[in-house]
């Protein structure tokens, strides 16, 4: 067990708390960097996909997990980014400019969504963002001269400074770099005054306001940053899939993004990445297990949604902090080895306190 004695206030917000973190994250980074040499091309595309979804999940975690604003329309922000990138790159704009435009445009849409959202809270906000998602989906399907409508839009592969980042390791490294940058941005944002304002808003809007936090500004900012993340991820997604159509960005997709952050662990940066990895890995695991199952179960089309639903229910019932929470508990067990007691993390039974007056 490691004790960190803090003697200065600055130690509270240091990026690296102790040498162990440098070692383990360094090891993870090294493993990710050498991964292309060891895994099959298929697994590599899945890893790129994980990186892309990790970026969206980080953005959504910032919004839902740290600012407490539930968004059920995040796939729409991804769609905005993906289509911006697709249209611009097809028109001959360089990749980097395209990504920047995708982030900016998604952020602007995020602000447009965030402004009306200032008036509503909680589940009403969820429904408002859901409505926005549906409307954006419909706009994309109807704006045929720009987006190709339901017929779809082909996206050329990435070319950067004359290099082709089309597929395989090069595209994976590109996604990894973006995911790493996104993680660092979120981690740094959270230890800045802005991040603390976000957390204050999540915990209690009234107390945050009385401490001088400008609610309107920070809520809109949170929406804008979160949408910009989704926009960047959407831009990468466009290059990964190479074909965009409106039915890739539906309400169901948005709900799956929320599932990602909840399963990963609401309110933790690790959770966003765990959630993204989990949601990409689960269908693969199901496919791998299929041959072992009896035929009537393996052939069934509904197996995947059933497992998804079951996992979601089990996580919320038994591990409210998600995968990250499970990890913390495991670590506590080994930290305290002989002294771990069963009731240590037991939740208290509670009656519903009214949410309506929040």
């Amino acid at each position: 067990m490691r004790f960190i004695f803090k003697t200065r206030y600055e130690q509270d917000i240091e990026l690296v708390q102790h040498g162990g973190q440098v070692f383990w994250y360094g090891l993870l980074m090294a493993l990710l960097l050498v991964a292309p040499a060891f895994v099959s091309p298929y697994v590599l595309t899945q890893l790129s996909q994980v990186c892309i979804y990790a970026i969206v999940a980080l953005g959504l975690m910032l919004l839902a997990g740290f600012t407490g604003q539930l968004s059920l329309g995040h796939a729409a922000f991804m769609a905005v980014g993906a289509y911006t990138q697709g249209v611009l790159v097809t028109a001959g704009v360089p990749f980097v400019v395209g990504v920047a435009a995708a982030a900016l445009f998604a952020a602007v849409v995020g602000i447009i969504v965030g402004l009306p959202a200032l008036r509503v809270k909680g589940l009403y906000l969820g429904i408002a963002t859901l409505a926005f998602g549906t409307i954006i989906e419909e706009i994309i399907a109807r704006a045929e001269h720009v987006t190709g409508g339901n017929a779809g839009l082909m996206v050329p592969p990435v070319s950067l400074f004359g290099w082709r980042f089309a597929d395989g390791p090069s595209f994976y490294y590109l996604c990894l770099a973006f995911a790493l940058a996104a993680t660092l941005i979120v981690v740094n944002l959270l230890r800045s005054p802005t991040g603390r304002a976000f957390v204050a808003i999540r915990d209690s809007e009234i107390s945050a306001q009385s401490m001088g936090v400008n609610l309107a500004f920070y809520k809109t900012l949170s929406f804008a940053i979160s949408a910009a993340f989704a926009g960047v991820a959407g831009a990468l997604y466009a290059h990964n899939i190479r074909f965009l159509s409106p039915d890739q960005f539906t309400v169901v997709q948005s709900i799956e993004l929320v599932m990602m952050v909840v399963i990963g662990g609401l309110g933790s940066v690790h959770g966003a990445i765990y959630g993204a990895a989990f949601l990409i890995a689960l269908p693969q695991v199901i496919n791998a297990v299929k041959p072992l199952l009896p035929a009537f179960l393996a052939e069934a089309t509904g197996l995947q949604p059933t497992v998804f639903g079951a996992v979601l229910i089990l996580v919320v019932l038994f591990e409210p902090l998600g995968i990250y929470g499970a990890w913390l508990k495991t670590r506590a067990y080994f930290d305290l080895f002989p002294f771990y007691r069963k009731g240590m993390f037991r939740r208290q039974k509670a009656f519903q306190k009214s949410d309506r007056l929040k």
Partner: protein, 291 residues
């Protein structure tokens, strides 16, 4: 005349939205939970009715009762098994559980071999009949939907007004903890509310079946019923029906008079306008917080 015709078909569709929204409101009022699986309960009701009608060959009124009973049981068990353990947790957690239940319901239904991903049609005694009033043509399906909705609303109103259980439910929706202290069996009532709400969804499913057929994804209509509940105010039972009717009529008119594509987006535009202008909805209760 065209206009009135559109309004009437919008009313019929709106009644379906209203019934689903009624389910949302019943549950939200009592337990402050938004049930994202209301559409899936509707789908289960539709399939239960299909089973009763085709396999068991029951008459139409019995089909409705079987569908209601089966779905109510599932709603009851759902509350009992997966929602009660997280009573009192954050709203997001409960919403995620209902979303998970919806996923499971959809997956399990497609896993049943006979059903799969096919569409099925429910045999109804009044299919294809039309009534003519002057220049108006009203199909029997639409009339049945409107009539059943009116009757059901009357029954629910009576339940909440005149029965002990209904009054206890009202008390519980005002303040759960206080109701508990007054000896109201909050847990049992909460299960009962889920059962009632599921039964209402089943009726909506049976009524919807002649219009759209029965298939595993018919539950996505639940997403369109959110605007109805929000317009009504999410805490008001009459509001849900009024909201449903408004959404139905708006959708019907937008589908005819506006460009293609507006039909699906129109309800959501209405709900956004509503949230910006009057977040509490038309009939929502105004609550103020004392700090």
């Amino acid at each position: 005349m065209q206009f009135i015709q559109l309004v009437i078909s919008g009313l019929a569709q709106g009644c379906i939205y209203g019934l689903i929204a009624l389910g949302f409101v019943l549950i939200y009022k009592a337990t402050e939970t938004v049930n994202f699986a209301q559409g899936e309960l509707l789908m289960i009701g539709g399939f239960a009715g299909l089973f009763a009608a085709t396999t068991l060959g029951m008459p139409y009124w019995a089909v409705i009762i079987v569908a209601m009973a089966v779905t109510a049981l599932i709603g009851f068990l759902n509350e009992r098994i997966i929602l009660r353990p997280i009573l009192g947790q954050s709203a997001v957690a409960i919403v995620m559980v209902t979303i998970g239940f919806g996923y499971m319901a959809r997956g399990l239904v497609t896993m049943i071999p006979v059903i799969g991903t096919d569409t099925h049609s429910l045999p109804v005694p009044f299919r294809g009949e039309v009534f003519r009033f002057g220049g108006l043509v009203i199909s029997a399906e639409h009339l049945v939907i409107i009539a059943v909705t009116v009757v059901l609303c009357g029954l629910l109103a009576a339940l909440f007004r005149y029965t002990k259980i209904g009054i206890a439910m009202q008390a519980m929706s005002q303040n759960q903890l206080a109701a508990y202290y007054m000896g109201i069996p909050v847990k049992r009532l909460s299960s009962l509310i889920w059962a009632i709400s599921a039964a209402v969804a089943a009726i909506a499913g049976i009524l919807l079946a002649p219009l759209t057929f029965i298939h595993a994804n018919m539950g996505f209509i639940g997403i369109k019923a959110f605007p109805a509940a929000v317009i009504g105010g999410f805490t008001s039972l009459p509001g849900a029906i009024v909201g449903g009717l408004i959404i139905g009529i708006v959708e019907s008119l937008a589908g005819f008079y506006l460009m293609e594509g507006f039909k699906d987006a129109a309800p959501f535009m209405v709900v956004l306008a509503m949230l910006v202008l009057k977040p509490n909805g038309l009939f929502g209760e105004r609550l103020a917080k004392k700090v």
